[in-house]
């Protein structure tokens, strides 16, 4: 949550997934490149839900820092899924269907924010936003306003991660070259790179070890 520029964006210098678009099949290229165009207008969320969801989703995907528009329009991607009714094909028995669950939990998050900060979630200070979200995760198997907190957390993070890591700029950040048809791979095995792959510039920066 610090204001310093994050260092995770610089591990694969010069690597841009979109350099390889000419080698993708057209059907895949159309689907992936559509994600890099200006996002469609919000259809599912109401205005107040939209600002709450935008703040929440940018926070969950580390896009809440200063510096203008997020690289990945997670809010619009989640909105499009919900508008199209594209669920994961299941819901927990103790949760409403996903669309309603999103509306309900955003309302509850705004209510929490009003209590803590006297403002809607989107207008609360960044530190308060982080506290509110962390509080839901920390409930674990407990209850959040009558909903199982773990299932709320699952809903939020599933939709957030699925949207964020569908985007070419997220792939570039993790060294993943994206679509691979009809090209495939020729140099497989530990330590082997294709000509279009870029090696990790900071291979010793193991985030697990640092965090341990």
């Amino acid at each position: 949550m610090s204001g310093a520029a994050p260092d995770w964006g610089s591990r694969f210098p010069g690597f841009d997934v979109l350099d390889q678009v000419p080698h993708w099949d057209q059907v895949t290229a159309d689907v992936v490149l559509a994600r890099t165009c200006s996002p469609a207008a919000v259809k599912f969320f109401t205005e107040s839900e939209e600002s709450c969801a935008r703040a929440l989703l940018n926070l969950l995907t580390g896009q809440d820092g200063p510096g203008g528009e997020p690289a990945v329009p997670v809010l619009e991607m989640v909105d499009a899924r919900l508008a199209a009714g594209e669920t994961d094909g299941w819901r927990y028995a103790d949760m409403p269907e996903d669309a309603q669950a999103w509306r309900d939990t955003l309302t509850l998050l705004d209510a929490d924010a009003h209590q803590l900060s006297g403002a809607a979630f989107a207008d609360a200070p960044p530190a308060d936003q982080a506290r509110l979200v962390q509080a839901v995760q920390d409930l674990g198997s407990g209850n959040w306003h009558g909903l199982p907190a773990a299932h709320v957390w699952s809903l939020w993070t599933r939709y957030a991660c699925t949207a964020f890591y569908a985007h070419p700029s997220a792939w570039a950040e993790i060294g993943f070259p994206g679509p691979a048809y009809p090209r495939g791979y020729k140099n497989v095995g530990v330590g082997k790179l294709e000509p279009f792959e870029v090696g990790d510039a900071h291979p010793s920066e193991d985030p697990v070890r640092e965090g341990a």
Partner: protein, 541 residues
């Protein structure tokens, strides 16, 4: 008989770089609803397609109705995770119990080819012990079929897919028609770690030909097996059984959702199926009905087919429908390496061990687990990382480390339990039918198996040089829900898949399996269907 002489599917596909024989589909025989065909099959996946192909070859007038599309890999599938959402059954379902099981991309396919469109491609056999776990270990159930009875069908299907792998030393030792594939980084890590610990691990068994097979090209190792194989290299019924079925006069009717099986009140025999296509309700007459909708939709269809004769649901006089539904515990453990593994290069299915498959008398749990490479792509990997509790900048930082990770998956033989079952929820789907509610709870033996599998995976990864390991608890696969048994008080169908309650109603999918072993179920589902088909074809001729 050579494989081409009994199943020409791979030679019926185009060899010009496209993947679908459109002419074969255009020229397909089409039955009228009023025709009383010999057999209508509900669902065109692993079980349904094998039935369709076998009985078309036997001269039956047969049609398979599938709720989803007749896929064309060229235009319908993409080399992309999020863009493959339509491959999964995503109609609403409710999950409950103390350990609810997520559905959708995890285990539920849609369209012609079924879940084998998005399965990884592992095709191990069950072990002989899987057919008698109750006798041998006092847990689970005994099948009314033995392994030797199924073996010839395993061998047939392995040739038809075909399967590549090293000679298999576990269970009933056997070889495979194709040599093992070269392994990528993830397979290399698994083999190295297992070797250091003295654990035997083998390359395969994978339903991807190592070489050309008919007009199907060689695998290009692009790593998107779970998103539908655009290459036609990974086996699925869409390319392994449907083309030959069409060439022998079968019909595949896509986008046709079967809503009810009709049974004659007087004779108690099935008359055909009600279905919806293009927004219209229709009825296909048939002399025989085979249900192959897999472990959630098959029980749901039976329960939704209640009538005055079967007030609690079709074939449910003894409250067996929907019960003993099984999923494998599938803890997924990843290890971090200084070198770059880049596990997304190469098919996710590469290397497995079945060294822990059987009951070990030295342990306090029964039955066992297998371990296989799994190579999650970014979205699935994000789920693994997020499960460690990371979000925001921490999530991004962990994710940036993706190329350094290797990932293994356990398949634990969670035991069949009567309370793990499908019932009908109050909620309705877009057809106005009650949706399935799947309740699932683990027992102590299940939890012990998952712990043991995790611990072995951690050991293998550490032995291979991993400095850190992280695990997510998952489930994989579905079987059971309408199991075969010796009698109608213990199951829904007999040893040939014929329902006890309705003499001309068969179930020919994974729902009939009484136990699940630690093996991916696709091959066994196909082999069991091939056995049923053989029995039926022999009976009529």
């Amino acid at each position: 008989m050579g494989v081409r002489a009994r199943n020409e599917s791979a030679w019926l596909l185009p060899n010009d770089g496209t993947r679908t024989n459109h002419r074969l589909r255009q020229d397909m025989r089409r039955f009228a609803d009023e025709d009383e065909i010999d057999l209508v099959i509900v669902g065109c996946g692993a079980g349904g397609s094998v039935m369709l192909q076998r009985l078309a070859r036997a001269g039956w007038r047969v049609a398979a109705l599938d709720a989803g599309p007749f896929w064309d890999p060229d235009t319908d599938w993409v080399s992309d995770e999020a863009g493959s959402h339509h491959l999964y059954w995503t109609d609403p379902r409710v999950i409950a119990g103390s350990d609810p099981v997520p559905m959708g991309s995890n285990n539920s396919g849609r369209g012609v080819g079924g879940s084998m469109i998005h399965y990884a491609g592992y095709t191990p056999r069950f072990h002989p012990s899987d057919f008698a776990t109750h006798t041998l270990d006092g847990v689970g159930a005994d099948w009314p079929v033995s392994y030797p009875e199924l073996r010839p069908y395993y061998e047939q299907i392995e040739q038809e897919l075909p399967v590549a792998g090293e000679r298999w030393p576990w269970g009933d030792p056997h070889g495979y028609p194709y040599r093992p594939h070269p392994v990528g980084g993830n397979g290399e890590v698994f083999l190295r770690g297992a070797d250091k610990l003295g654990i035997m691990a083998k390359v395969g068994p994978v339903a991807i030909a190592n070489g050309r097979f008919g007009n199907r090209p060689h695998c290009i190792y692009r790593g998107f097996c779970l998103q539908g194989c655009k290459v036609n290299a990974k086996a699925s019924p869409l390319i392994t059984h449907v083309p030959d079925a069409l060439a022998h006069g079968a019909e595949v009717r896509p986008d046709a959702m079967v809503t009810q099986i009709a049974v004659d009140k007087l004779t108690g025999r099935a008359l055909g199926v009600h279905y919806v296509t293009g927004g219209r309700e229709r009825f296909q007459r048939a002399r025989m009905v085979a249900v192959a909708g897999y472990s959630i939709e098959t029980p749901r269809l039976l329960l939704n087919s209640a009538s005055s004769r079967f007030p609690e649901g079709l074939c449910n006089d003894f409250d067996q429908v929907g019960r003993y539904l099984m999923v494998q515990g599938a803890p997924q453990t990843a290890g971090r390496f200084g070198a770059e593994v880049r596990m997304y290069k190469s098919p996710p299915p590469e290397v497995s061990t079945e060294a822990f498959y059987e009951t070990d008398p030295g342990q306090d749990y029964k039955r066992g687990f297998s371990i296989q490479t799994v190579s999650p792509l970014p979205i699935t990997w994000a789920e693994h990382v997020a499960a460690q509790g990371h979000w925001g900048p921490a999530l991004r930082e962990y994710m940036s480390d993706y190329v350094h990770w290797s990932c293994l998956g356990g398949l634990c033989e969670f035991l069949p339990r009567s309370e793990n079952r499908v019932t009908l929820a109050r909620e309705k789907d877009s057809y106005g039918l009650p949706v399935a509610r799947f309740s699932y709870s683990q027992c102590d033996n299940d939890r012990a198996l998952a712990r043991a599998a995790q611990s072995v995976m951690e050991d293998i990864l550490h032995a291979a040089g991993a400095d850190e390991v992280i695990t997510i608890q998952r489930y994989a696969h579905l079987v059971g829900g309408a199991r075969m048994a010796a009698d109608e008080q213990h199951g829904v169908v007999d040893r040939y898949g014929r329902s006890f309650a309705v003499p001309n109603l068969y179930i020919t999918d994974g729902s009939v399996l009484p136990t699940q072993g630690s093996a991916n179920p696709a091959l066994t589902i196909m082999a069991v269907a091939a056995r049923t088909a053989h029995h039926l074809a022999a009976g009529i001729s």
